[in-house]
Symmetry: C2
Subunit: 224 residues, 2 copies
C-alpha cells in the first residue's frame, strides 16, 4: 500500500549526520558557504560538496553562486517546519544531544528559528499577541487583526510585501513544545528587534541575547 508521497527519500537525506548538521546550521536562517557547511558537518570539502548536491537535488536547499562562493539556504519554510518537527520528536523520544549547560539555557530563553524568534521569548510574544487580540485564527489561517495592523504600523514594522509567503504562520518549538510566530511577520519582528538594538545574535550559535533594557523594551512595545 504505497499511498501518499514518497517519504523515505526526504527522510534519508536528513538521516545522515553530516547533512543533518548542515541543515541544522541553516536553520539559523543565514545563507552559508560550502566551506562553512563542511566545517559545520565535520567533513572534508569534497564530501560536503557531494552532500550539498544531494540536498539541492532533493529540493531541501537552494544554491546561489556569488563570485567564487556558493551560498546555500533552506529551500522553503516548509523545510524548516519539518526540521523543527523532527527536533521536537527527537527531543521527546530522548535522543537528546543537549547537555543542559549554560549555553543551553541561553538557547531555551531566546534563539533564532530559521528567521524568526523562538524559545521562551518567542512563545511569550506569540501568547501575548494572541491575548492582546493582535492575532487571531480563523479556519486554520493565522492572521493579523485590525488592532494588530495598527500596532505594527505604530511600531514601524513592515507588514506589506509582494512575497506570497504567508504573513503569519505558527511554528512549533522543540524546547517549549508550544507555538511561536513564524512567517514574514515573524521575520520582520526579529529584524526590528535587531534594529532597535534590543538584542543580538551570539556569534557561532543560534542564541539571541537580549540586553537588560532591550528585553524590557521589547516586552513593553508588544505589551506582554
Amino acid at each position: 500500500m504505497k499511498d501518499g508521497p514518497d517519504i523515505s527519500r526526504v527522510a534519508a537525506l536528513i538521516g545522515d549526520p553530516g547533512r543533518a548538521n548542515m541543515l541544522a546550521a541553516l536553520m539559523s536562517g543565514k545563507a552559508l558557504t560550502a566551506g562553512e557547511l563542511a566545517a559545520e558537518a565535520g567533513v572534508s570539502s569534497q564530501t560536503a560538496s557531494a552532500h550539498l548536491q544531494g540536498l539541492e537535488a532533493g529540493k531541501l536547499i537552494v544554491r546561489t553562486k556569488q563570485g567564487r562562493h556558493h551560498y546555500f539556504k533552506l529551500a522553503s519554510d516548509d523545510v524548516a517546519g519539518v526540521l523543527e518537527a523532527l527536533m521536537g520528536l527527537a527531543a521527546k523520544t530522548g535522543q537528546l544531544r543537549t547537555r543542559t549547560g549554560p549555553r543551553d539555557a541561553e538557547l531555551r530563553l531566546a534563539r533564532v528559528c530559521y528567521n524568526h524568534l523562538a524559545g521562551d521569548m518567542g512563545v511569550a510574544l506569540f501568547d501575548g499577541m494572541m491575548a492582546r487580540g493582535f492575532l487571531h485564527v480563523k479556519a486554520d489561517e493565522l492572521a493579523l487583526t485590525a488592532a494588530g495592523y495598527k500596532k505594527m504600523a505604530a511600531l514601524g514594522i513592515e507588514v506589506e510585501g509582494k512575497s506570497r509567503a504567508p504573513l503569519c504562520r505558527e511554528c512549533l518549538d522543540w524546547s517549549e513544545r508550544r507555538s511561536h510566530l513564524a512567517g514574514r511577520l515573524g521575520r520582520s519582528i526579529l529584524e526590528h528587534v535587531y534594529a532597535q538594538g534590543w538584542a543580538k545574535r551570539v556569534e557561532g550559535t543560534r542564541a539571541v541575547r537580549f540586553t537588560g533594557l532591550g528585553g524590557a523594551a521589547f516586552r513593553k512595545a508588544f505589551e506582554f
Copy 2:
C-alpha cells in the same frame, strides 16, 4: 554547532523505504502484526523483524504481544505529525509517487490520517466547526467552545476521558495543505461516523468511502 536534539537518528529510521512503508501503513491508526507489516514493506519476515526492532528502539512505534502475534502501532501522535509533515514536504518537492488514478481521487476526498478523518471531508469538517463557533483557538490551544460541547452531547459523541492526550489538535493535510481535526475529539468523531454507518474503510487502503446518504447526514449533523 550541535544545537538541539539529534535529528538524524530519527530521520534515518524513516529514511529506509521499507521502514517508511511500514510507518505509512501504521498511519491508518490500526495496530498491525509483524507479518502484515512485512508484506506492506515488501520484505521477508526476518528483515521486517529487524526493522521493527529498530523502530521500537527509536521509540517511533510500540509493541503489544497478544498470543503469538506482535501488534505494532505508532508510539504517539507526534510521530504521526512528523510523518504528515514529511508527506506534505515530499508532495511539494515533487517526489510524488501518487499517479492520480481513481483510487487516488478517493484518497483525496476522505481518508484516515492515523485515527481521524483527513482529505476534503476532514478539512471541510474542521472549517465548518470553526465557522459555526464549535471550535476556537486561544493562545495556541485549540479547544471546544461551550456551543461545541453542547453539540457533541446532542450527537452523543464522547468528549470526556481520563487520557491526558489533547482533546483537540490540528493536523496538516498533505493533499489539501490545510488543517483538519485530530486529537481525541477527531478520533471520537470518526468512530461516530463508522457507528452511524455513514462511511466505512475501503479494505486494504486508507480511503474512507461515504455512502450518498451518509455523506449528507454527516454534513447535516455537523452543519457544514
